[in-house]
Amino acid sequence: MKAAVLVFPGSNCDRDMAVALQKSGADVTMVWHKETSLPDGLDVVGVPGGFSYGDYLRCGAIAANSPITQALKAHVERGGYAFGICNGFQVLTEAGLLPGALLRNAGLKYICKTTPLTVATTDSAYTSSYAKDQVIGVPIAHHDGNFTADQSTLDMLEAEDRVAFRYAENPNGSARDIAGILSANRRVLGMMPHPERAFEAAHGNEDGKGFFDSLVSAVVPA
C-alpha cells in the first residue's frame, strides 16, 4: 500500500500517523502543503491532526485551500482513499470532502483523554477488522470537535450507514454522538479521535490498531 501524509504548517500528528501506517506495512511519503501534486500510484492520503495554520479563521479553513488540498480533491474524485484525523477531519469538512462542520466543544474546554468509541459500521476500509458495536478506547485531543450538520444531513448519514464511530460517552456535544463519518463512496473518512495514538502497547492501548489493519487489508490488492 502506498500512502501519503500531508504536512501543513502546524501539523503535529503527521509523524505519528506516518509511523502507524509504516508499521502496518505501508510505503509512506510525507508531502508538504505547498506541493501541487501527490506521488504517482498512491492508494491512500492521510490528513493529520494538529493546528494547521494556527487554526486561524476556522480550524482547517486555510489548509482546505492549500495547494496540496487541490491535489487531494482530485485524488478523492478519482475514487482514492483518504482519511483525516482530528484537524484532518476539520480540513476534510472545510474542503467539502465530507459533510458537516466541527464547532467549539459544548463545554468550551480543550479535552485530552482516552474516550470510549462504539464502532458504528464495519462496512468500510477503516473499520472492517472491528466488530459492529465493539467499544474501543481511543484518545481525543481537541477544542473544536463538536460535530454538527443539519437534520437532513444527519438523517442521511445514518440512513446510508455512514457513521463510522460514535462516542459511547459524548465528550463534546457532537450531534447524535458522532465521532467519525464516511463519504458517500465510503472511501473518505474523518474522525476526531486519534487511532494512531492507540496503536501499540507502548501507547497504553492498541485499540486503534484495527483502524490501520482494516485499511491495509482493504487497500492491498487481493
Binding site: L57, A61, I62, G100, A101, L103, A106, L108, N146, T148
Partner: protein
C-alpha cells in the same frame, strides 16, 4: 475601498461561546440578558472597484463556512 464582513453562526446552530458570555453577564449581575451570539468581523482593504459579487465569492469560499455560518457585507 473597504469592506466589512460580519460572520455569525446561523440561527439554530448552538453557540457555546455566546452561552458562556451570557452566563458570565448574568453572574456579574446584568439581568435580562436573554441570549448572546458571538461572531466575528473581518475588515477587507480592497482595490477600488472590487465588486460585491467578488466579495461574496470570498465569503463563500473562505471567510465563512456556510454549513454553520451566515455572513453580511458592508461596503464603506
Amino acid at each position: 475601498m473597504k469592506a466589512r464582513v460580519n460572520v455569525m453562526l446561523k440561527n439554530g446552530v448552538l453557540d457555546p461561546q455566546g452561552a458562556a458570555v451570557r452566563h458570565a453577564l448574568g453572574a456579574m449581575g446584568f439581568d435580562g440578558v436573554n441570549d448572546v451570539r458571538q461572531g466575528k468581523v473581518i475588515e477587507l482593504d480592497l482595490a477600488d472597484g472590487t465588486s460585491e459579487d467578488t466579495i461574496k465569492d470570498m465569503c463563500d469560499k473562505l471567510l465563512a463556512n456556510t454549513v454553520i455560518e451566515s455572513y453580511s457585507i458592508e461596503l464603506a
